[in-house]
């Protein structure tokens, strides 16, 4: 409860709402004690006195009644009616909900069908019909509003009750021979009670507004008694000559409802765990870049290189260094693999290249990405956009979630082509079919009309690859493109990619966690651990003679088919959290050859020989 209040108080607007609503309730409670004139005494000599000029602070109405007094008494009445209606609706609605959820089956069916019927009405029609039957009057309006709101409670509470009824403690209560009534009162009710209170707090504003509305129509409180709605209704006749008589009650309704809405929002936010973790923030079109000094002279002859890249996630007070000074080089016609466990920063490295890391919370804090002399991190949005999907394109891990579910294959492919090329409708279609053929999709004309969910996983990934090839890219960044596929399909996709690399002279950056994949497709490989590259070199060399202890352990985790004499290893311990790394080697706690120097010194990535680099003091192989 205290935690909840703390959360609520963090939202300043909600706190303001709470303060206002408490103040209004307080004033309404003490109204009988205040030295106010009788709200119903008619004084026709003093009609329509303007505010602040007379004894009546807010002036008088069309019958010369004191507006201040009528306002406070009216507020009192409106609040009372609103709360009563909320209570009544909660009582009846929750009872129906609990009985329906607890007994289930036929009882549930009949009750819920009835509730559905009530919900089929536009709500005010039902309220009007009820008032028509009972006759105008405040009490009848209250009943009408309460009935109209019953379905809301019944449905919510039923849902919660159904969840509880299947829990063990209810079974235990049943077995102990308790009657249903007792189980409902002692076991179910205490558990659904908080939900009832929350539902009430979010609907009471509505009910105040609805009863005020019925009174405004002349169907609620009858003269001389007046709530805020009927005050407004009566003032309507004099709207043009004496607008303040309308403004006074109208503004009061606005204040009350707004305060309750603010408070309701705060309560909902405080109870929604997703908001705390910041999950509900949407990523910007481009990863944020911190302000740091730029590198000026980039080598325009390089195809694509990443230098000292640092990408961090700032979540709350924590700072996760997902990528911490990574440098890689992509070469024409070659495939560079980036391998590591989940959380090693390999995907973030790949996504940073084209500014596709979700931000917030992601932010690039250092480094540059050199594409033919252009720094992709600092270049303007338009330039970056023209390269995205053009010269540099991506293939993502899960083709089902990374293809738009509501567009056909053709629509998505054509859109990718048209984003970078100016072609006629017919040309685009031809190109689209060609692309589908080139990734060996059978029946391309039929498949083009399909939606992603109608294709198999392998076909979907072929479509993704076709999309990546749409504009004859120079670099393809493939982020675990085979992880979501089964093994046979995986092999097909890999051979397709390998073929494309050699045919088109593409450079591929291939993100994976699987050394098997590396051996099949990669010419070079960078091994990542805790945001840093720990080993970098030709894949054949690394596969045969891993220098870093982590690399060799990771390779030990790969099962070998047909050579089943070896024990399948696993690495003890877990990868470290990258928000508070200790000094020294990040792998040291899991490494078997750790020496004291490993823990104290910052270990540099150093050359082992002409082609290989390793970040280790005691590499396993010396070449």
């Amino acid at each position: 409860m205290i935690g909840f209040l703390k959360l609520l108080s963090r939202n300043r607007l909600s706190l303001a709402g709470l303060v206002v609503i408490i103040a209004v309730i307080f004033v309404a409670l003490v109204t009988p004690l205040l030295p106010l004139p009788d709200p119903d005494v008619i004084d026709t000599k003093n009609r329509f006195k303007t505010p602040f000029n007379t004894d009546a602070i807010l002036g008088t109405d069309h019958l010369g009644r004191d507006l201040m007094s009528r306002l406070l008494w009216g507020t009192r009445l409106s609040l009372a009616v609103g709360f009563c209606a909320a209570f009544l609706a909660a009582l009846i609605g929750s009872s129906i909900g609990i009985i329906s959820g607890f007994y289930g089956k036929h009882v549930d069916n009949i009750l819920m069908r009835g509730i559905d019927m009530l919900m089929a009405f536009p709500y005010i029609l039902l309220a009007l019909a009820i008032v028509a039957a009972l006759g105008p009057g405040l009490f009848n309006a209250l009943i009408a509003v309460a009935i109209v709101n019953i379905p809301f409670f019944a449905r919510n509470i039923r849902g919660v009750t159904v969840g509880i009824t299947h829990k063990e403690f209810i079974d235990a209560a049943r077995l102990s021979g308790m009657t249903d009534t007792r189980i409902i009162i002692t076991e179910v009710l205490p558990n659904v009670f908080p939900v009832i209170v929350i539902a009430m707090s979010t609907t009471v504003g509505w009910m105040i507004l609805e009863t005020a509305g019925l009174s405004f129509l002349g169907l609620g409180s009858q003269p001389p008694q007046a709530d805020l709605g009927s005050m407004l209704g009566e003032a309507r006749a004099a709207l043009i000559t004496s607008p303040y008589t309308s403004v006074v009650p109208g503004a009061m309704i606005l204040i009350i409802v707004m305060a309750i809405n603010l408070l309701g929002d705060g309560i909902r936010d405080a109870l929604d765990p997703r908001l705390k973790s910041g999950v509900l923030s949407s990523p910007r079109p481009r990863t944020l870049v911190a302000d740091y000094s730029k590198t000026k002279n980039l080598d325009a002859s390089e195809l694509l290189s990443v230098s000292n890249l640092k990408t961090q996630f700032h979540i709350g007070n924590r700072n996760y260094k997902a990528v911490d000074g990574v440098s890689i080089y992509a070469k024409k016609g070659a495939c560079l693999g980036i391998i590591g466990e989940s959380g090693s920063g390999k995907s973030v490295t790949a996504l940073s290249i084209m500014g596709l890391v979700s931000s917030p919370p992601g932010i690039i804090t250092e480094g540059y990405v050199n594409y033919k002399g252009i720094d992709l991190i600092q270049t303007n949005d338009q330039k970056l956009r023209s390269l995205r999907g053009g010269k540099i394109s991506y293939i993502f891990q899960d083709p089902l979630s990374s293809l738009h579910p509501l567009y056909t294959v053709q629509q998505q492919l054509e859109e990718a082509i048209l984003a970078h090329q100016n072609l006629s409708k017919e040309e685009v279609y031809q190109k689209c079919i060609e692309l589908l053929k080139s990734v060996r999709i059978p029946n391309p004309k039929q498949r083009a009309k399909d939606y992603p969910h109608q294709l198999s996983g392998g076909m979907r990934q072929r479509v993704s690859i076709a999309m990546a090839l749409a504009n004859d890219p120079e670099v393809i960044i493939a982020d675990e493109p085979t992880t979501a596929l089964d093994v046979t399909v995986q092999a097909q996709i890999l051979s397709l990619l390998r073929e494309l690399t050699s045919q088109r002279g593409l450079a591929i950056i291939f993100i994976t966690h699987d050394f098997g994949v590396v051996s099949q497709i990669c010419d070079e490989v960078a091994v990542m651990y805790a945001g840093k590259i720990v080993e970098y070199g030709p894949s054949e060399m690394i596969l045969n003679h891993p220098a870093h202890p982590y690399t060799s352990k990771l390779m030990g985790c790969v099962p070998e088919i047909g050579k089943g004499k070896r024990k399948l290893a696993s690495i003890d311990g877990l990868p470290p959290m990258v928000d508070k790394l200790d000094q020294g080697c990040a792998f040291a706690p899991r490494c078997q050859s750790t020496i004291s120097e490993c823990l104290t010194n910052d270990i540099k990535l150093r050359d082992v020989n002409r082609n290989m680099k390793v970040r280790c003091i005691k590499p396993e192989t010396h070449l």
Binding site: P122, P243, R286, S401, H404, L406
Partner: protein, 315 residues
């Protein structure tokens, strides 16, 4: 698709029957003797008995329901005693006026609400987002009848941009311009609350979609951010925005009652309030059943539209 529409229409039958039962029962609850209410307290017992027989009140509740149901299915909703007119004629005529008002308002709140929600989500945490969020909060808190009155004061009385009330000018041509002028204020006043609710829910629907992988794919393709937001994200978000529109249509139809009172709009809401105050029960009964039935049909249309929008749902 046709099969789905038929199935959906078929499933509406029990709902429509339920509506008729509820309305019939509510009306049957009315205390007192309708014959006395109609004839006045000085009626002779013979006259009361004759009227009761004419109204079919000497039969059981069960029989009366089926007679009434049979009649309304043939379009016979009885005769309004206060207007001395067939209920169905009056209801259809008034409902036309309400449809013009609520329909305009519904289009306004859908367009503005969705646009505001999309903008707010696309510019999350920026000034635009905060501004929209605040206006939306104000919009959903203001009672529409109060807002309508204030709009009359400002735009009709002080600025004289629009007429104060009514649907047509008292003198002059009843053409589209005249109607548009008379519609502007009531339709806007009616749209405000629903616009706020739609904007709010569209915003959260968009935020949910913008985090999806396929939005990242769209960006990785090099698409213009406008296309990413308005085509890719909004298209996907529409699947969850559409049912919200359906619910809000009900609220707009409900709110029309207040707005019709404030702006003297000759719609079905004002007719109902007048009928209640005059105790013209048959008119209330006919009006409520008719409008509720139209709303049920409208909701079926929303369901069908949702199916058309999402190819993943098998029809």
């Amino acid at each position: 698709m046709l099969g789905y529409i038929l199935k959906r229409l078929f499933s509406a039958i029990p709902v429509l029957l339920g509506i008729s039962i509820i309305v019939f029962l509510i009306m049957a609850m009315i205390p007192g003797d309708p014959a006395t209410a109609i004839l006045g307290s000085f009626a002779t017992p013979e006259n009361v008995e004759k009227l009761n027989r004419d109204l079919g009140l000497d039969k059981t509740l069960f029989q009366r329901y089926f007679i009434w149901l049979g009649n309304i299915l043939q379009g016979d909703f009885g005769r309004s005693y206060s207007l001395n007119k067939n209920v169905i004629d009056e209801v259809v005529e008034r409902f036309g006026a309400t449809l013009i008002l609520a329909g305009t308002s519904f289009i306004m709140c859908s367009l503005i609400g969705i646009c505001a929600g999309v903008l707010s989500a696309a510019k999350q945490f920026q000034l635009t987002d905060k501004l929209i969020t605040f206006i939306v909060l104000l919009g959903i808190s203001i009672p529409s009848f109060f807002l309508g009155m204030m709009m009359i004061l400002l735009f009709a009385v002080h600025l004289r941009w629009f007429p104060v009330s009514g649907m047509w000018p008292i003198y002059g041509a009843r053409d589209l311009t005249a109607l548009a002028g008379h519609l502007a204020l009531p339709a806007s006043a009616l749209a405000v609350v629903a616009t706020g609710v739609i904007a709010r829910l569209s915003r959260s629907a968009m935020l949910e979609i913008l985090r999806q992988d396929y939005i990242r794919t769209a960006r990785a393709k090099g698409l213009d951010e406008k296309i990413v937001i308005w085509r890719h994200a909004l298209r996907a978000a529409m699947v969850s925005i559409l049912p919200i529109l359906g619910i809000q249509a009900g609220f707009v139809l409900s709110g029309a009652v207040y707005i019709e009172m404030v702006f003297q709009w000759p719609g079905v809401g004002r007719m109902l309030v007048d009928a209640i105050l005059k105790r013209d029960i048959l008119l209330v009964q006919g009006g409520v059943v008719f409008v509720a039935a139209c709303y049920v049909i409208f909701n079926i249309a929303v369901d069908v539209a949702q199916h058309l929008l999402d190819p993943r749902i098998k029809t």
